[in-house]
């Protein structure tokens, strides 16, 4: 392999020869096993990161967060904004050799609601669609009952299968008999929780992968993943714990790829009523005062948390969307660490003597979460609060948080759609079950200005207007210190030998992002 890569030398040649160079096969060790190989079974990250390499989508999301052509080369929406016309790519064939047509897309849309027992169904992503019609083999017309600017985003996660799949069940995808997509890889063999074998699709319309065959092993425990990489049993692993980064970097033949993710860890502060459950009613609810929230934010040394606890993995955060995610507002300043100013603000707000409270966080849900919460406890103690820290087992933590048993608590939200609207709506939108807003707003932040800005984003058709509205919403939330952002978690991968991994903004461990040097 080394001689081969020396021979290939320049990447340009390598790219040219990618089709012929690879009698190569590699093995990847991934932390999360999928719940099914059926690409329509669950919209969870671990399912989608496998589905995405075997099944293509109409619309792709480019690295800069904008839409890019996938199986659809062009699309347009009518004057009344209710009819979308998609022109589909020609000369695309499925893994079984049959041609890709608009009928397959219609079949996929019809199949998705029929998939039983889905724990995280794709149906909400098709909810806007009133009807889909194959006008001819390469023209698809979608009508919606009301204007749906979010349709391209939704369609970017719908995995197109061949109509030859027929009435196959999810189990048939596990048996590889129904796995007919158009993606860069095709499924050869799968044993649940153990391994997935993929073979390159040489006829893929886009960039054909460098590797002939990729075997994915599911290695849940990080220690065994790391050990397998060091022993040379696997060539690529994901979810490398930050604590192991230094050691892996020092290992010969292994390189580490680190990238901040779009998953932000933050402290939520209960702002619903004039008292809050973890604070003495005589003190009241300090979190209703924006000066207090600002003080708590100023008290946190984010650089230190990333550096000392996360070993430099991740980035100090100031809003949900990091750079590169649609809706990122570059004008929001980085959050300072200034305990002096924090104490002043507390005094101004009339809380100069601080108060006593217990803060909460999960155990093992986020990277080094127990240590991050303890550090937050330290930092808040140092501005004069009397803090107890309680780490709750993850399986009961979120239920208790939703039941509003906490006053100040740690949660994270990961953006997986390439844009910030869901994070803003679910976490910061005023809680309203009927409207579907604020599903994760367990601390009940509520701002009319924020809601108005966000509503605008959900109605805007033009990308510019949408982005401006999202940025405005993010600005309001930052100004009002709706939550206390801590950091964007880091994603870390490691490869051995002459392999490169190029992370994508969604942070998924896509084997299509692996290339030979």
């Amino acid at each position: 392999m080394t001689r081969l890569s020396q021979f290939l030398g320049a990447t340009a040649i390598a790219a040219l020869m990618a089709g012929t160079a690879g009698a190569q096969s590699i093995t990847a060790g991934l932390a999360a096993a999928p719940s099914s190989m059926d690409p329509h079974f669950a919209s969870t990250g671990q399912n989608q990161q496998l589905a995405a390499v075997m099944y293509d989508r109409l619309i792709h999301i480019a690295p800069d967060g904008s839409f890019a052509p996938g199986l659809a080369t062009e699309w347009s929406v009518s004057e009344d904004r209710l009819t979308w016309t998609f022109t589909l790519r020609e000369d695309v064939t499925f893994h079984d050799g049959s041609p890709f047509t608009a009928a397959d897309v219609v079949f996929t849309f019809e199949r998705i609601p029929e998939v039983p027992n889905s724990p995280a169904p794709f149906t909400p992503r098709l909810a806007a669609i009133d009807s889909a019609e194959a006008v001819d083999d390469h023209t698809l017309v979608i009508t919606t009952s009301s204007p749906a600017p979010g349709l391209p985003t939704d369609l970017s996660t719908i995995y197109i299968v061949s109509q030859n799949v027929g009435d196959a069940e999810s189990a048939d995808f596990d048996r590889s008999s129904a796995s007919i997509g158009t993606g860069p890889f095709r499924q050869v063999e799968y044993s649940p929780g153990e391994r997935l074998v993929l073979e390159r699709n040489p006829d893929y319309w886009g960039e054909v992968p460098d590797f002939e065959r990729v075997t994915i092993r599911f290695l849940e425990t990080s220690a065994s993943r790391i050990a397998s990489l060091q022993a040379g049993e696997v060539d690529f692993v994901d979810a490398v714990p930050p604590n192991d980064l230094e050691r892996l970097e020092a290992t010969e033949g292994v390189s580490v790829i680190a990238a901040p993710s779009a998953r932000m860890v933050y402290m939520g502060l209960d702002q619903m009523e004039d008292t809050t459950v973890m604070i003495d009613p005589a003190v009241g609810n300090p979190f209703r005062d924006v000066r207090v929230r600002e003080a708590l934010s100023l008290a946190i040394n984010r650089e230190a948390i990333v550096d000392r606890i996360q070993f430099g993995s991740g980035l100090p955060a100031n809003q949900f969307a990091p750079e590169g995610i649609f809706g990122h507002n570059p004008d929001i300043p980085a959050l300072d660490y200034d305990p002096e100013r924090a104490r002043e603000l507390l005094a101004e707000a009339g809380y100069g003597d601080g108060w006593a409270m217990t803060i909460h966080g999960p155990t093992g849900r986020y990277v080094n979460d127990v240590d991050v919460l303890l550090a937050v406890g330290q930092m808040w103690s140092q501005i004069g609060l009397d803090i107890e820290v309680e780490n709750v087992p993850t399986n009961v933590y979120f239920g208790r948080a939703t039941d509003r048993e906490f006053s100040a608590f740690m949660v994270a939200f990961g953006i997986t759609t390439g844009e910030s609207s869901l994070a803003l709506r679910n976490v910061l939108g005023t809680y309203d079950a009927d409207r579907g807003w604020g599903a994760n707003n367990r601390f009940r932040y509520s701002s009319d200005a924020f809601d108005a800005a966000l509503a605008e984003a959900f109605e805007a058709f033009e990308d510019d207007a949408r982005e401006a509205a999202l940025q405005e919403a993010a600005r309001i939330a930052a100004e009002e210190h709706a939550i206390i952002p801590i950091h964007w978690e880091g994603n870390n991968w490691a490869v051995r030998g002459d392999i490169t991994f190029t992370p994508s903004p969604d942070g998924r461990s896509l084997v299509t992002n692996l290339s030979a040097n």
Binding site: P241, N243, D244, E246, R247, N301, A304, I305, R308, I309, T363, V370, D371, L374, A375, G377, Q378, S381, Q382, I387, E388, V389, E390, N391, P393
Partner: protein, 310 residues
């Protein structure tokens, strides 16, 4: 500890002494001191207990007070001077806790958990064991089958299940340890009491018409104590080890009050990257504590064994 001596009831001066003439505490101390190893264990134990008791006054930092910690001081090597100007003689852990302080505070927790849990388990086990032995019959069967059932499960498994139900916390871990340990004491108490029950002094007491309660606790109990005291010492050591194991597995004490087990567990992830001190020093402290208790316990067994009395 004049436990080998059974004072005849004051109301019955005519009854002769049931035991050989008394050579109580003095003999035990003399015998104990014959073993230099046991003396070393005792001295070590005293030093550890003293250090643990005095921890708030002799440590540079209170590791349980978040105010005095700073993550800027995290993972300093032994001897390094921290951000705040404090010297970390044994290094610091991931939260910036001084390892020396954390170890002494951890020893406090270990000793406290061991003592409270074992004393309670001893009291419960002793009572049930005596009752089973003295009353016999159905009472004996019920109690002892319960004990058998209990001892057929590995202690760590029982404790893990209990803590999964009860949740983390100091009280919960003590409850779990009591539940795990009472059966051992009950079995030992019953066995000893059974062999004592046929002795003349019990018959004498019975012929005097003393109440059952009085015979049980006034006569049987003192004579059953020596082997139980030995078991008690050894069980303290195993309770401490069990607590450390549970904390290591993450179900024991909360992260804000690290006991030795949790300190070892916290440092475990850093051992391979060369930051040995976070795990190794608390490990050594735990080892010394358990060895010291066991040395003392072993010698006590030899000294208190009636067969060794010449």
């Amino acid at each position: 500890m004049s436990v080998t001596d059974t004072q005849p009831p004051a109301a019955a001066p005519l009854i002769p002494r049931a035991q050989p003439p008394e050579r109580p505490a003095a003999r035990i101390i003399r015998d104990f001191a014959r073993s230099p190893l046991a003396l070393f264990g005792l001295a070590l134990l005293l030093v550890i207990v003293l250090a643990a008791l005095l921890a708030p006054w002799i440590t540079p930092q209170n590791p349980y007070d978040l105010r005095s910690l700073s993550i800027m001081d995290s993972r300093l090597a032994p001897g390094e001077v921290g951000f705040s100007g404090v010297s970390f003689w044994l290094g610091s852990d991931g939260q910036g806790r001084d390892m020396f302080s954390a170890i002494l505070y951890g020893l406090r927790i270990s000793l406290m958990v061991g003592l409270i849990a074992c004393t309670s388990a001893l009291l419960i086990g002793l009572t049930l064991g005596l009752v089973a032995a003295y009353f016999g019959g159905r009472t004996d069967t019920v109690i002892m089958r319960l004990v058998d059932l209990h001892l057929s499960f590995p202690p760590i498994l029982v404790a893990l299940i209990l803590l999964a139900i009860l949740g983390r916390g100091l009280e919960n871990i003590i409850v779990a340890l009591i539940i795990v340990q009472w059966a051992t004491f009950a079995r030992m108490a019953r066995a000893t009491a059974l062999s004592e029950r046929g002795r003349e002094y019990v018959e004498a007491a019975q012929s005097l018409g003393l109440s059952r309660i009085r015979i049980l606790f006034g006569h049987l109990l003192p004579n059953c104590l020596p082997p139980l005291m030995v078991l008690y010492t050894v069980e303290i050591a195993s309770a401490i080890a069990l607590e450390a194991t549970l904390s290591f597995l993450g179900v024991g004490l909360p992260a804000t009050q690290p006991s030795l087990g949790l300190l070892i567990s916290n440092g475990f992830q850093f051992v391979l990257s060369g930051q040995y001190w976070i795990s190794v020093f608390p490990g050594i402290a735990l080892l010394l504590l358990i060895v010291a208790i066991n040395l003392v316990g072993d010698r006590l067994r030899d000294v208190l064994n009636p067969r060794n009395i010449t």
